[in-house]
Symmetry: C2
Subunit: 199 residues, 2 copies
C-alpha cells in the first residue's frame, strides 16, 4: 500500500483500537482528512492527551474520576451501607445507567486468574478489606462477570468475608452466562441487581 | 450518563467517526485509558494534528499527498498516456492495491449531484481539461462508482470529450451495481479495469 507516511501512521494507530481492522482504520483516516476541519482534529487531539492527564482512580473505590474521590463516593445521599463489587470502571458506568442502584461501588480492576499470574495481590482488594473494617458497610453485592474467573473471584471474596456479619450477595438472574458485564443491556443489569441472591 | 467530563468529551468526539455508535466510542475511550500508555496516546494525538498539517492535494491529479506533486504523477515510469478518473483519493489507493494499473489518475473529489447543488464547477474538472489539452494523453478511463451520480458524472465527462480524438472508456464488468468503489475488493477492481469498455 502506497499511502503517504502521515496517513499510514494514523491507520496503524487506529488499528490498535478493539474491533478496528485495516479497512475501518482507513475509513477513519479518510474521514479525518475529508470531513473534519483543522479545528475538530485539534480538539480531538487535545481531548486525547487531556484524558490521560486528568483521569485517575478514585482513592476510595478505584473508579475512574477527574477528582481525588469520585462523584459516587463523595455523594452523601448514596447508601453508605452497601458496596457493589465490579471488575472494571466500565461496569460502574453500566450499572449507573440503570439508575436503580443507590449504594457505593468497589472496582477490583481485574479478576483472579491464576493461569495469567493474577492473584489477590494484583486486584484492588486491600482497600476493600479496609472499607469493610470501618464497619459502616452492612451488605456486599458481588457483580463480577459470570465467567469462570468472575466466579472464582466472587467465591474468593465470599470466603474472606464469611466470618464477618456482612450480608454477601451475588447478582444473579439476568446476566447471561459467559458474557462480560459490559455487554449486558440496562434491563438485564437492573434485573440482575434486583434479583440478587444470598451468596 | 455520569462519565467524568474528559471521558464524555472523548466519547462524543469518537462518535463523529463513521459507524461508531455510543457503545463503540465508550469501548475506544476505555481502551485508551486502560490499555494505552501515556506515550501511545501522545503519539496518536500528534499523528492526528500532523496529518492535517502535512497532507494536501496533488496539484496535478488532486490525489492526497505529503508533497506538492504526488508519488504517482511524479513517477516517470507510469504510462503518461492514460488517465483514470476516480471520485476520491481513497479510490486511487484501492486501485493501486491491485498493482495492475500503470497509468496516471485524476481525482474529481465528488460526483455530479444536481439535487445537492453539486455541478461541474464543484468538481475538480478544470484541471482535467487542462491535462487533456496538453495532448500527452491518449486514453481516459472513467472509474466513477456505478451509482446514479457516478454514471451521470461519467456521461458528462464523455460528452465533453466526445469531439477530441481520445479513447474514452468506462470500467465495467466487475464492480457490483450500486456499490461505492471503496467497498470493492481487489480482484473485482482488477477485473473491472481489465474489462473496461469503450464508452
Amino acid at each position: 500500500m502506497n499511502f503517504p507516511k502521515s496517513i499510514e501512521d494514523l491507520i496503524v494507530q487506529f488499528m490498535k483500537y478493539p474491533g478496528v481492522g485495516r479497512k475501518t482504520a482507513e475509513r477513519f483516516v479518510f474521514h479525518t482528512i475529508n470531513k473534519m476541519d483543522k479545528e475538530s482534529v485539534k480538539e480531538l487531539s487535545e481531548t486525547l492527551t487531556q484524558l490521560k492527564e486528568r483521569i485517575n482512580y478514585c482513592k476510595v473505590c478505584n473508579n475512574l474520576t477527574d477528582k481525588e474521590v469520585c462523584h459516587i463516593c463523595s455523594n452523601e445521599k448514596r447508601d453508605q451501607s452497601i458496596i457493589l463489587i465490579v471488575e472494571s470502571p466500565k461496569d460502574v458506568f453500566s450499572i449507573e445507567d440503570t439508575s436503580q442502584y443507590k449504594g457505593l461501588y468497589h472496582v477490583l480492576n481485574g479478576v483472579l486468574s491464576p493461569a495469567d499470574g493474577i492473584g489477590p495481590e494484583e486486584l484492588n482488594l486491600k482497600t476493600l478489606w479496609d472499607r469493610v473494617a470501618e464497619k459502616k458497610v452492612k451488605e456486599i453485592i458481588i457483580a463480577t462477570s459470570s465467567t469462570q474467573e468472575g466466579e472464582t473471584t466472587a467465591l474468593y471474596i465470599k470466603r474472606v468475608l464469611q466470618d464477618t456479619d456482612l450480608t454477601v450477595s451475588r447478582i444473579g438472574y439476568g446476566v447471561p452466562v459467559g458474557l462480560n458485564l459490559e455487554y449486558a443491556d440496562q434491563l438485564t443489569l437492573s434485573k440482575a441487581i434486583e434479583n440478587r441472591k444470598k451468596f
